[in-house]
Structure formats: C-alpha cells, structure tokens
C-alpha cells in the first residue's frame, strides 16, 4: 500500500514538472515573452530593462530553471492591472472557487447516486424513466443556459434568490467560507446547483449503468441464493462494486468542475478564480493567466493522486499491483 502510494507520488511529481515545462514553453519560447510579461503600455527603455531583469537574454534552459525556481517560491510575476503579485491574486480568489466546486460536488453526489440507483433498479418504471429523461436534459444543456434560466425563474420571476455575488462569509480555519451563513447559502444555492447539474446527470447515468450491469452478475444471484435481504444485496454487494468506477469519475471530474466554475462564476458574478481568468484574458493580463494555469495544474495533479489512492483502497485487486496468485 505504501509502496503504491510512493510510486504514484513520484509519477505525480513528474507530471507536475512536465506541465510546468509546457506552460513555460508556451509562454517563453513560443510567445514573445516580452510582449506577454511586460506591460503593453511600456516604452522601449522599460522594455529593455524588463528584458534584462527577466533574464530573457539568457539561454532557454537557464530561463526554465529561473522560472521553476520562481514558481517554487510562488513568484510568477506581477499583474499588469492590479500591480500585485499574480499568484497572490489567484490565491485570494481560490477559496471562493473551491467552495463553489465543493458544494456542487456534494450536491451532485448526494442526489446523483440515490437517483441513479433507483433508475437502475427499476429502469422500466415511470420514476426510472423520468430520472433518465431528466439526466439527458442535465447532460445536454450548456451550463450557462441553465444558469440563465435559473436566474430568470428564481430571481426575476419569483424573487427568492439573489442573482449574483457571494454572501456573507465567516472564517473557518482562517479561510473565509460562506456556506455557514444563511445569506451565504442563499447566494450559493443557484451557482452550486448550476455547476452541479452536469455532474449530477453524469452520476445518475453512471450509477444506473453500473447498477444494471451489477444486477446481471453472478455474485448478485449468489447473494440472493444465500437468502440475504434486498437492502443488503444492493447496499453492500452492488454498491461497493459500482462505487469503484464512480469514485474514479468523481475524482477526475472534480478538476473539470473547477474549470467549469469559470462559466458559472461569470454568470453569477461569483468572485472566484474563474472570473479572474476571464477578466485577465480580456484585459491581456498574462502573468495572472500563467499563475492561474500553474495553480490549476497543481490542483489537478493532487486530485489525480488522491483519486488513485482512494481507488486502491476501494478495490483490493489493485493494491498489490495485480500479482496475486493464491496459495493452495
């Protein structure tokens, strides 16, 4: 178990280095780094100074090392627009995005797995069919469109929920969170639901497919032949088997939830990193874009690693790397 974790850790580290190389190549080697990292309003003298200061006249390999060292010290340049370190901007906004992503994921799991189980166990019933039809909708509709409709219904027509912004925050372990206040929850409701929808639909379909396949397996028949109750057969035997691919998907999709938060944040004016990214792209504030990319890459690598470890905990066949010929 420990050996497996260490191996995955090593691999994750390699991926991290590879990704930073890609970002570096994209920014420094392909683009004109002077254009990208220096304020577009700067004049020739300033550019020359910046070039020297950024070490852009040195060989590429050396520049990469400088870049890496800077990244390790969390120094990725200054924002043109706000004139503060880019990484600071990103990290400031990160809690809001993570909170949104976390709430959306919890919502998707809490609703998706039970609904998917029901749809899988009674596929031909009215309930089952309605759930599947609903999942097709949730899957097909673009996130921004659903957000629009949500605002139309709940803010404009019914006036129940505020259409944008984040609610009151309180500090939890030094990090501001808004789901602990009523006002915060009111502001969270629509964006979280909006973000959760795609994943919810995905989870419903996955759980249903998994349940349907699991029910055809011999071990279900054997469990029934032992006289076990239906709740045990489904709750223990079936669930543990289908949880494995589901957990993998949840983990892998967690990263995409954070990415799709970009759209949700734009619609609901949620002050997270996504909105920061869009604004930066529009304002050509490239250091912030680079900082955002590096943070996202780090988050992804960490998530992938955690999912792998969790997967091996759930599926005992993976743990020993497959070499498990039994003794007689």
């Amino acid at each position: 178990m420990v050996a497996y974790a260490l191996r995955r850790l090593g691999q994750s580290f390699l991926v991290l280095v590879a990704m930073s190389l890609l970002v570096f190549v994209g920014v420094y080697a392909i683009g004109n780094p002077v254009e990208l990292l220096v304020n577009p309003q700067a004049d020739a003298i300033e550019r020359a100074r910046a070039t020297a200061a950024l070490g852009l006249d040195k060989p590429l390999a050396e520049q990469f090392l400088v870049f890496l060292r800077g990244a390790l010290h969390a120094d990725l340049g200054h924002s043109f627009v706000y004139n503060v370190p880019a990484i600071q901007l990103v990290l400031q906004r990160l809690p809001a995005t993570l909170e949104l992503a976390f709430c959306a994921t919890v919502l998707a799991i809490a609703l998706g797995i039970p609904l998917g189980l029901v749809a899988g166990l009674r596929p031909k019933s009215l309930v089952g069919r309605t759930i599947m039809a609903g999942s097709i909708l949730g899957f097909s509709l673009p996130t921004f469109w659903v957000g629009l409709v949500l605002i139309m219904v709940f803010s404009v027509e019914l006036g129940w929920l505020p259409p944008n912004g984040r609610g009151e925050t309180v500090l939890l372990f030094g990090v501001p969170v808004s789901f602990l206040t009523v006002d915060g929850l009111k502001h969270l409701a629509m964006p979280a639901l909006n973000l959760a929808l795609f994943k919810l639909a995905l989870l419903i379909r996955l759980t249903r497919a998994g349940a349907r396949e699991a029910l055809l397996q011999d071990y279900v028949r054997f469990a029934r032949a032992k006289g076990l109750s239906a709740s045990r057969v489904i709750g223990v035997h079936v669930l543990k088997n289908i949880l494995i691919p589901i957990v993998t998907v949840i983990g892998l999709e967690l990263g995409s939830v954070i990415a799709f938060a970009i759209v949700t944040e734009s619609i609901f004016a949620w002050p997270g990193t996504g909105k920061l990214l869009i604004d930066s792209i529009n304002q050509l504030d490239r250091p912030v874009i680079v900082a955002y990319l590096m943070v996202i890459v780090l988050i992804f690598v960490v998530i992938n690693f955690a999912v792998d470890v969790l997967y091996s905990l759930l599926d005992p066949r993976v743990r020993l790397g497959g070499a498990t010929a039994g003794a007689h």
Binding site: L137, F144, L148, V149, I151, P163, F260, V263, I278, F300
Partner: protein, 315 residues
C-alpha cells in the same frame, strides 16, 4: 491468387471468426441497425427534430423574414419589441427583437447556421485527425502507440473548456481559430476510441489471415480493420457534435468565441444577458431554446445509437 480472391478468403476467415454468414459490407447489418434504432419513439422524435433544425439552418437565408445583418433593414426604433408585437412597418416579430431592432427569429436561424456549421466542421476535422492517429497507434504499436497515447492521456485529463480558453487567449478570435480550438479539444476522444476498437480487432484471426495472404498494409487497415471500428466511432462523433456546439456557445458567451460579425447562438445569448434582469427575457431566452433543442435532439439520437451499436446489450 489475385487481390480479389485474397479479399474473399480473408472475408471468409472473418465470417468464420465472428460466426456470421453474411459477407462483409452487405446491406443487412445496416437495415438491422435502422430497425433497432426505430424501436425507440423518443429517438425517432429526436431524429425528426434534428432533421428539421438542420433544414432550417441550411435554408436560413431563404426562409427567415429578415436578413438580420443587413444594416439597411434595421431600425433602432424597433428595438426590444416583445414577442408578437408589430414593428414600425407592420411586420409581426414572432419572437421579438433585440436591442438593435433585429428580428429574433431571423437572428436565431442565422445563428443556428453558424453554430451547426462550426460544430459539424470541427467534428469532421477532429474525426479525421483522431482516426489517422488512432489507427496508426493501434496498427504500428511500439513507440508510435506510446507517444500518441501519452499525448491523448495528458490532453484528456484536462477539461476541454480550459484548453479551449487558453488556446483562444493565445490565438485570438475568428472562425478558423475557434475551429482549431474545437478540433484540438476533441481529436483525442476519437483517437482513443479508434485505437481501442482497432486493438481488439487486430487480435482477431481474420487480420492474421489477411497478413498471411500478404495483403498490403493499407488494404488491411482500410478494408478490414476500419469498418469494424466504425460503430463506437459513430456514437462518439454524434455526441461530440453536441459537445462542440455547446462548447462554442459557451466560449462565445464568455466573449472569447466567434466575433460579432459571425454571431452564433452563444453570442446572441450573451448579447441578451444584460436585459435579463429588466424583464426583456426573449433576447436571450429564445436563442437559448434553439440551442437547447438542437443539443437535446443530437443527444437523443446518440443515446439510441449507442444502445443499438453496443454488442454487450444485444438481445
């Protein structure tokens, strides 16, 4: 033995391997697929809807009441009319007008055209690219396979919207650049799907038979390997059209997609977003409905195709 005979022998070996008696490429599998497809009424509705939408998009310049991009036809006094209201010159705007006086119905029809066009063309290009790379990876194996699959894995582990956003941030705006971004985001799916099926097929005996008969590599790949990899590819491609359209709409909504000169449905929705809170919902809502119907129709068709072409669920 000439090529034709060799093909026959290989086909016979395949028939023996797969237990069928119909020769490769004959009508009956397609007829069966169509019959199975038609079993679901919902899928047929989806197909009908899709055909209607495609026709509307294709004939937009002829059937729309107004050319929404001909500035001489617009009158700003007609702006923001509610659905069903008449304009200054008496024409009724069934879906209302936007802030510049454009008839929404016409704008939607033109927007559909662009959305569908961009979606389908990006899928076709990505399919071609993914197909070539996937087949190459499966057939040649070795380092070709390793390199292609590493790239595929790396790309697929990142969400498409992020990749597209960054690409567009670097490349700028424009139809061609959007298509490039969409192709970049999609090709990996095709490559992986093709490679999986090709790998499975490659192990089968009829390929060995063809190789032993010294058929040229191109022939083996094109005539024998490729047709059997098509079913899952068709399913993936259909779903991806919907994804491509949705992604393009999202990017346009965020202001990073198509320029204003080629307004897709996403841009129309973005345009109307600011008027949402003041109750003029139709400027965003109806383009959104059109988008939604298109995507749902495609997904309904794709769902049924997936069930029909899935060997594990065959009865």
């Amino acid at each position: 033995m000439n090529e034709a005979t060799r093909d026959l022998v290989a086909a016979a070996a395949e028939a023996a391997a797969t237990g069928t008696t119909a020769p490769v490429g004959v009508q009956s599998p397609w007829r069966r697929i169509l019959a199975d497809f038609a079993e679901s009424r919902l899928a047929l509705v989806g197909l009908a809807l899709l055909v209607a939408i495609a026709l509307a998009a294709l004939t937009a310049p002829w059937i729309s009441p107004q050319n929404p991009y001909d500035l001489s036809q617009l009158d700003v006094l007609d702006s923001k009319l509610a659905p069903g209201e008449a304009s200054m010159n008496g024409t009724v705007h069934w879906l209302g007008t936007d802030d510049q006086g454009r008839d929404m119905l016409s704008a939607i029809l033109y927007g559909l055209r662009i959305s569908l066009g961009v979606g389908v063309s990006s899928v076709v290009c990505a399919l071609a690219l993914g197909l070539v790379l996937g087949l190459a990876a499966a057939y040649f194996g070795g380092w070709v396979d390793a390199v292609v699959m590493r790239v595929v894995d790396l790309q697929l582990s990142f969400p498409s919207i992020l990749i597209a956003l960054i690409l567009l941030a670097v490349l700028g705006q424009g139809v061609g650049k959007i298509v490039v971004a969409l192709v970049t985001v999609q090709w990996a799916y095709y490559a992986r799907t093709v490679r999986s099926s090709a790998l499975v097929e490659r192990q089968k005996e009829y390929i060995e038979a063809a190789e032993v008969l010294a058929l040229s590599r191109a022939r083996i790949v094109l005539r024998h390997l490729l047709p059997n990899c098509l079913p899952p590819l068709i399913v993936v491609a259909t779903v991806q059209v919907a994804h491509a359209i949705a992604l393009e709409a999202t990017l346009s909504f965020l202001g990073l997609g198509l320029p204003i000169t080629e307004p897709s449905l996403g841009l129309l929705i973005a345009n109307g977003f600011q008027y949402l809170l003041s109750g003029k919902y139709w400027i965003s809502f109806y383009p959104g409905v059109a988008l939604m119907l298109t995507i749902i129709a495609i997904n309904l068709v794709a769902d049924q195709l997936r069930d029909v072409l899935n060997p594990r669920l065959s009865r």
